[in-house]
Symmetry: C2
Subunit: 408 residues, 2 copies
Amino acid sequence: MSTSISPLALPFPDMSPVAGVTLRVARARYKEWDRCDLTVAELAPGTVVAGVLTQSRCPSPEVEWCRRALVLGEARALVVNAGNSNAFTGHRGRAAVEAIAARAAAAFGCKPSDVFVASTGVIGVPLPIDKAEAGLDAAVAAAPADWRAAAEAIGTTDTYPKGATVTAMVDGRTVTLAGIVKGSGMIAPDMATMLGFVFTDAAVEAGFLQRALADANARTFSCITVDGDTSTSDTVLAFATGAAGNAPLASEENAGADAFRAALADLCRQLALLVVRDGEGASKLIEVIVEGAESDRSAHRIAMSIANSPLVKTAIAGEDANWGRVVMAVGKAGEPAERDRLSIRFGATPVAEAGLAVEGYDEAPVAAHLKGREVEIGVDLGLGEGSARVWTCDLTHGYISINADYRS
Amino acid sequence: MSTSISPLALPFPDMSPVAGVTLRVARARYKEWDRCDLTVAELAPGTVVAGVLTQSRCPSPEVEWCRRALVLGEARALVVNAGNSNAFTGHRGRAAVEAIAARAAAAFGCKPSDVFVASTGVIGVPLPIDKAEAGLDAAVAAAPADWRAAAEAIGTTDTYPKGATVTAMVDGRTVTLAGIVKGSGMIAPDMATMLGFVFTDAAVEAGFLQRALADANARTFSCITVDGDTSTSDTVLAFATGAAGNAPLASEENAGADAFRAALADLCRQLALLVVRDGEGASKLIEVIVEGAESDRSAHRIAMSIANSPLVKTAIAGEDANWGRVVMAVGKAGEPAERDRLSIRFGATPVAEAGLAVEGYDEAPVAAHLKGREVEIGVDLGLGEGSARVWTCDLTHGYISINADYRS
């Protein structure tokens, strides 16, 4: 964890345990720091897993491992390493993942394919197997940890720990969903973003859990961007222990399925926004809402073009209502748009309508809105029914400071 | 012009007049500044024109005007306004362009469609017709100006004037090509970038000139990026006065056609690099060379993914050989890539080969290379014969400072 906390940080919530999940943390010392950087979640027998993984063509061996293990749909343990992503490390990286899975499997009496592994940190340095094994042994022997300790242990350049919890009524029982997430840079929305882990005591069949997670992901993690840079290691996994004892959710038709899906999406949205709030150097949370596009997909692309524009992001950092840069970002998105039907608002105040500035609009509420910590940019293309909502943060000197001297 | 000159600036070259082209500048005072901000190039009767224009879906009325006028292929005047892009200004913006064309046509005894207009600056404020007309009148009455004065007058956030000149042998005669360009932010490669004007005394037919310009553009202006933000006003125009008296170039088969095309591409490349050298906040010029891709198009996309990555650009700013970020940018490009065939070099030194770090590579030459003003990143995908070469600059605190308080 960095010492300078994001001004957009939210306090860590009060989070109850999830039956069937036992968290433990340890010091593997992947970097020269005195903090826990290895996290293990032990999962009750019968736990079902789903996941969404980075679409990068250069994924980490952890991502490849999880992709294969997800086919089986069962999980008994999750191991998370912080400080070294183990990406682009060839056969040595693959060997490290296999070693971790084998050792965790021995500790928990399960198959290696029941062990999920995720790592985050610098690219190109093989994860040291000796540190990983010693850290894993220490974690297995440690007393159980709480959510906050785990959320802290999975962080790298994060400035605060991130967690959220929700409940849902399923089959007459209250089920709990809890999640932790890490990420503040190299954040862009290609299926998943950085590391996010969701745990629930609900009983859910693997196919349904995968569909529910993919759907939630598409509207949450895939709708955030800090810098447009998609990581080699992006991973979101959902584990369902079944300890709540409900009749297992197997299809969208089951009673409680809608409630579970809504709760999962709500949780993922909370977690995704926590990542944006910790965007490197962020001083403002920006919500971009695009309506009137030819399709939802088109709206999403236009929204992302705005959210990824360095000129839009620096304008918001400067509290400058420079809507011309929004026009530019709409224009460059490559999606259907007609200049003379386009409307733009900051907060609730229209600043441009039908292809030109709103004559003499009141600048006071716009200025007040831009001075706040949360900024909303609304765009109506006036073409159709497509809409999208994405989140990003502003681009400040802090981003440059953090990233011009991260590794060395 | 800004007062702080880019550390990558090159001195303005010694540039001879081009027969058939008369430059004049004046103060239209589009902003509260005491400098020339309106430029007129008077072109000899018979001048042929070609152009490439922004692909933005929200183009300025100037771009729309030029697009229509280019169909006719003839030009008698160019008018360039600096300080106001006139983009997204509705019918008032269109009226301003029409008024300028009509007034210039009257001054030069030509049709309004023979007048090309380009404007650059803030978006969303209609160009004041009274200032434009008064400025135009002043320019028409002024003494001829040299290339440097014109290059200065078309600039906005540029920190130095940009021009270049080359010659070619065509039909036994030496023809001259001269160009000026402006741009330092909102620079990204979608057909054209910001404002560039090329003038030659060669006799060239319109169709050939358009093909030669489009071809040169694809390898030069379309291969640069400062911030990935494509302007609403990007315009590159080429004017051929024919004063050199050569037999007009009409096809790629004509004697001298190859020499002319090569000279035009050389000129465009010089001008494009001058723009990158004035990238907002730039402290290093970065050349990205991608080889071994499945196609040239794929190589170009991968090169642009690297060149537009904030994490790569901040790493170079920090003189950090963080090639993991290059891997990330290759992976996110969405183009065919295989992690275990990928090689990366900084300057001449391989740092990663076949999917992992080069064991114990010599860091000294890499560190020395990164400390220089010109940095080369080489990527070999090991898949095929596709290659591409693009140019960008690093991302520094200067970019944030310039763009967080540009408009107000």
